[in-house]
């Protein structure tokens, strides 16, 4: 299932693959350790704090702040048609960090360290396979949530 995450996938199998189904339903999920309650993003099956192996998914609000960013001009395989594109590392308000590209609500010239962003789940319709990821958007950007597929 996890091969559906991202434009190009190198990782089909993981203990946190249900993340993809939640993302398809419009929910950004972190993991919450069943033993110590540690919340982590990206989600992980094995708690980094107490090493416990059971967890539940917990929904995050996706609000965050840009830590750093770059504009990729020289593309890796699979992204040849996409360049140039901007990427950023974002600290989530609720803890954890993610890396993602920008959506249409933020102009490249406006990207700056310290800016507030909203992480928005996105189902990519133009790709052949069903594919889902998230983009960085202007705070206040809305999106629809559905029941778990």
């Amino acid at each position: 299932m996890f091969e559906r995450f991202g434009r190009i996938s190198y990782c089909a199998h993981t203990k946190v693959e249900e993340f993809v189904r939640h993302l398809e339903s419009g929910r950004l999920m972190g993991s919450c350790c069943a033993a110590c309650g540690q919340v982590t993003f990206p989600p992980r099956a094995d708690c980094a704090e107490c090493r416990h192996g059971e967890f539940t998914f917990t929904e995050l609000n996706g609000r965050g702040t840009v830590v750093t960013h770059t504009r990729i001009e020289s593309a890796p395989a699979g992204f040849e048609a996409a360049v140039p594109f901007d990427l950023a590392v974002v600290d989530l308000d609720e803890g954890g960090r993610l890396l993602a590209g920008f959506g249409a609500t933020i102009a490249p010239a406006d990207i700056a360290i310290g800016m507030a962003v909203q992480v928005v789940p996105r189902i990519n319709e133009e790709t052949e396979e069903s594919q889902v990821d998230y983009t960085l958007e202007r705070p206040g950007t809305g999106w629809t949530k559905s029941d778990l597929p």
């Binding site: 996890f2 995450f5 991202g6 434009r7 190009i8 996938s9 190198y10 990782c11 993981t14 990206p42 830590v67 750093t68 960013h69 770059t70 504009r71 990729i72 001009e73 020289s74 593309a75 890796p76 395989a77 699979g78 992204f79 996409a82 594109f85 990427l87 590392v89 954890g96 960090r97 993610l98 890396l99 993602a100 590209g101 360290i113 990821d133």
Partner: protein
């Protein structure tokens, strides 16, 4: 505590080596090291190979090299720590001698990177980060260092001009190294005008893939005194640390915590401080990486790396000369060979063999070899008595 010495060094020309296989490159470096040490190869008890397997068509190169060197059935093994594989191999050889298992060990770092097709290189480049959560968004190796650069600029006011000055320095010295890939000076204007790769990094902020090999012969203290005499250079401080592969699990993005940790270990073991280092080789895979290295190694304070190059403190006449062989930037970066190449250069400096690039009176030298975006770092302090 008994010491481990380097008694021989060998180094191929770096660059596009369409004339040689990886084992032929390894042989060039090995033969030169044997001649340099005036050593009977029968005394070599084991070889350690530093290389990154995914760049080679030939699988499992350690055994292939051992066969080509006519050293079977003696032990050989591969060490891999991405771009720090060469220093990992040196550490592995050092450990084998310290453990008392072997007395004389040949360490060979080698890599043939130009035999891959461009598409294969791009595919590899697409997998340098965490493939589960980062590569799926199109990250690249320059892209990660570009994000370090942005943080460094934001936090400390480091400029694109200062980055270009690192490239200018390293090409200046590369032009004086007969084994370097690029033996041509460049201007800051040329570097600043080059195409963007991952903003704010440009073509001249990035090192180049290359082919090449380097070899050092290590010996236990008594054997080194017997075989290497007064030319022996000692591995007196051996630091090694790790960090997360993913930028998502790093706090600070203005330096490499693993480099600071490895440096602290190496200085402590050698009983020296940063100010005692007379000459250094640092891992300038990108110009920002050299600036961060100045700071992580304590050659200057945090945030002062840009000023350190602007003031030419890392030139031959500066407080701590850095990368006087051209660095990865001008010498080329055959990733498995790099750590061993750095070590060869520091041995040459400590022996006083570097001609117009020689730091007069150099007695303590340092190598700083980074794997990936800092998930491995090896810092070694070398000394000549």
């Amino acid at each position: 505590m008994s010491r481990v010495g380097i008694i021989g060094i060998g180094h191929t020309r770096f660059g596009r080596r369409g004339d040689a296989t990886v084992q032929e490159l390894a042989f060039e470096a090995y033969r030169e090291a044997l001649v340099d040490a005036d050593l009977d190869p029968a005394l070599i008890e084991a070889t350690v190979i530093g290389a990154v397997p995914e760049y080679h068509k030939q699988r499992s190169v350690a055994g292939v090299i051992q066969e080509y060197l006519s050293l079977t059935p003696r032990p050989t093994w591969l060490t891999e720590a991405a771009c720090a594989s060469g220093s990992a191999a040196i550490r592995s050889g050092w450990l084998a001698i310290k453990a008392g298992v072997h007395d004389v060990v040949a360490v060979i770092g080698c890599q043939k990177m130009t035999e891959l097709e461009t598409a294969e290189i791009l595919a590899l480049m697409g997998r340098v980060g965490d493939v589960q959560w980062e590569s799926v968004f199109g990250t690249t190796f320059p892209g990660y260092y570009a994000m370090f650069t942005r943080c460094h600029m934001h936090e400390f006011g480091t400029t694109e001009e200062q980055l270009a000055q690192v490239a200018v320095k390293n090409h200046h010295y590369g032009a004086r190294n007969a084994k370097a890939m690029f033996q041509k000076e460049i201007t800051a204007a040329k570097a600043l005008d080059s195409d963007s790769v991952a903003a704010p990094l440009k073509v001249y902020d990035c090192c180049a893939n290359a082919d090449g090999a380097a070899c050092v012969i290590l010996a236990g203290e008594a054997a080194a005194r017997r075989l290497g005499g007064a030319r022996t250079v000692w591995l007196d401080g051996m630091g090694c640390a790790s960090d997360s592969m993913s930028v998502l699990r790093r706090g600070d993005l203005t330096g490499l915590p693993a480099a600071r940790e490895a440096a602290a270990q190496a200085y402590r073991m050698a009983g020296v401080e940063a100010a005692d280092v007379k000459v250094a080789e640092v891992h300038d895979c990108f110009t920002i990486a050299e600036i961060m290295a100045y700071e992580d190694l304590g050659f200057c304070d945090r945030g002062e790396g840009g000023a350190f190059i602007a003031d030419q403190q890392s030139y031959l006449a500066g407080t701590t000369p850095v990368n006087l062989d051209g660095g990865l930037k001008a010498k080329g970066h055959p990733i498995g060979a790099t750590g061993v190449s750095m070590t060869c250069e520091m041995v040459s400096q400590l022996r006083g063999d570097c001609g117009e690039r020689q730091v007069l009176g150099a007695d303590i030298a340092l190598t700083h070899n980074v794997g990936g975006i800092g998930q491995y770092c090896f810092v070694h302090v070398l000394r000549r008595d």
